[in-house]
Symmetry: C2
Subunit: 260 residues, 2 copies
C-alpha cells in the first residue's frame, strides 16, 4: 500500500474532516448501516479506513440505503488523523483496499463542522424499470422488470401530484419511526433513457422505503389506467393500506446528495 | 409457464433446427462447456430447454468460452420437437426459465443442416481495459484494470502485425490440442470508447486463450515502449515462452459470431 509508511498523527489540532462521494453496487450488501454479521457498506468502508489509519475510524453517511439498493453518489464523512495525505489521495488509497463493488469517486476536505446527514439539503433518487424482454444480462439485474411498459405521459400525471410538501404517510413503511411524515419533494418525473423507464425524484429527505412505495403504487395505477385523481386520493388518505406493492430494491439508486 | 400446455410431438418429420443468439455475464459460470459439478452456460441452457421440451435437449455452441469470459453474441443451435412454437417465441419461453445472467437475444429457424460451430465463418471478440482509478462499480468488474493507460497508437502498431494468416503458436495455451496453430485474423485494432480501452479482433477461429495471450503480450510491450519489430519477433518465434502474461478472463467478450 502506497501510504503504509504514513504514521497517524494524533491530537485535536491535526484532525481533518473528509467528505467522500461513493458509488456501490448494492446487490451483495445488506444495505448501508452496520449490522452484526451482515456485509454492509458502512462496515466495509470503516474496515478500509481503519486499515489505512491503523486505528478505528467511524464513517457517517448522508443516510441509510436498504439492502440491495445501489448508489451512484452516496455521501459520507470521517475525521482523519493522517495529516500528510492530501484529501484527494484517499481515493486511490481506499479504492485499493475496498472490494470492487464499492468505489470512492471523490474525496475533499470540508470544515470540521460539516455533517454528511444534517447538512444534506437535497437527495436525488433514480429508479430504473425495464421490460421483462430486456435481454442485456449486464444491466438487467439493476432494473425492476415489468411485462408491459406503461405510458410515460400517464405516469407523469401521477408524479406531478407528488411534487410539493405533503404528508407521505401512505408511502411510509411499517415500523417507520419518523416524528413527522411530512416531506418536501422538489421534483418527480418519469422519462425514457436507452430503452429503460426512469423515475427521478428529488427532495429534502425521504421516509423509509418511500421511493419504492411511490414507484410501486404509480406502476399499479398505470396498469389500471387510473386517473391522477386516484393518485391524489391515495396520497390524501394518509394511510399505508392505500399504497401499492413496494417496488423491489434492485431498481433503486441513490443518485446524488447535495449540500448548501 | 406460457408453453406448459404444448405437448412434444416426436418423429423426424417434426424436428426443426433453431439457432439462438445469446448474451451472458460469465462471472458466475465455469465457462460454456458442460463439466461435472460446475455451473456452465451450456448446462444451464440445456436444463432450460429440457424443462421446456420435457425431454433431454442437446445444445451445440459456436465454440467454448472459458470460465469468467462473457458473451454479447454467442451462437448455438438445438433441434426442437415442439412443432407449434414459432421460432421467436423461444426467446420469452427460455428467458422465463433462465437465470438473469443468461439472456436469449434472438431465435430463428435454420435449415436442418446448419451447424453453429462448423458453419461459423467469423468470430469477433472484444477485450475491455480500464484504469485502476475507474470508479464505476457496475462496469469495472467487466474490465481488466491497468495502472497507466497505454497509447492507442503504439498498441495499434503491434495489432497490425496480428492481422493476416499466421502461425499463432506463441499465443496458444499449454494443453492446446489443435492440429494446426495457423489462424486467419481479419482485423485487430485498439480504440477508446467511453473512457475504456477496447481491443477488437475478428478471425475465422482462435486458439484456446489466444485473445487473452495477445492482449497480455501487447500491454506488456506497450509498457516497455517496445517497437512493433519486437511483436513481430515474438509472433515469428512460434514459441509460447515468448508471450506475455495472459490477460484475465473478466475483460473478454465473445461479441459476435457470423455465418455465411
Amino acid at each position: 500500500m502506497e501510504y503504509e509508511g504514513v504514521s497517524p498523527e494524533h491530537g485535536a489540532g491535526s484532525l481533518r474532516r473528509i467528505k467522500l462521494t461513493l458509488a456501490y453496487n448494492g446487490t451483495n450488501f445488506c444495505g448501508w448501516q452496520i449490522q452484526k454479521n451482515d456485509r454492509t457498506v458502512q462496515q466495509v468502508l470503516q474496515d478500509a479506513l481503519t486499515a489505512l489509519h491503523k486505528h478505528p475510524v467511524i464513517v457517517t453517511g448522508s443516510g441509510r440505503t436498504d439492502s440491495g439498493v445501489h448508489a451512484i453518489g452516496q455521501a459520507a464523512h470521517f475525521d482523519t488523523t493522517l495529516a500528510s495525505i492530501p484529501a484527494e489521495k484517499f481515493i486511490p488509497a481506499l479504492n485499493t483496499l475496498l472490494p470492487e463493488d464499492i468505489r470512492i469517486r471523490k474525496s475533499v476536505e470540508v470544515p470540521e463542522t460539516f455533517h454528511a446527514r444534517f447538512h444534506a439539503v437535497e437527495r436525488e433518487y433514480r429508479y430504473y424499470i425495464s421490460l421483462l424482454s430486456e435481454n442485456n444480462p449486464f444491466t438487467r439485474p439493476f432494473t425492476h422488470t415489468v411485462a408491459d411498459m406503461p405510458a410515460v405521459r400517464l405516469l407523469n400525471t401521477y408524479a406531478r401530484i407528488i411534487a410539493g410538501t405533503h404528508d407521505f404517510t401512505t408511502f411510509s413503511a411499517a415500523g417507520d419511526t419518523s416524528k413527522t411524515k411530512i416531506r418536501n419533494i422538489g421534483s418527480a418525473a418519469f422519462y425514457m433513457e436507452k430503452g429503460q423507464l426512469v423515475f427521478r425524484i428529488k427532495g429534502n429527505a425521504f421516509l423509509w422505503r418511500m421511493v419504492r412505495s411511490l414507484v410501486g403504487t404509480m406502476l399499479e395505477l398505470a396498469q389500471k389506467s387510473e386517473s391522477p385523481e386516484k393518485m391524489l386520493e391515495i396520497l390524501n388518505a394518509a394511510d399505508r393500506r392505500f399504497a401499492g406493492t413496494t417496488a423491489p430494491a434492485k431498481g433503486l439508486f441513490l443518485y446524488r446528495v447535495s449540500y448548501a
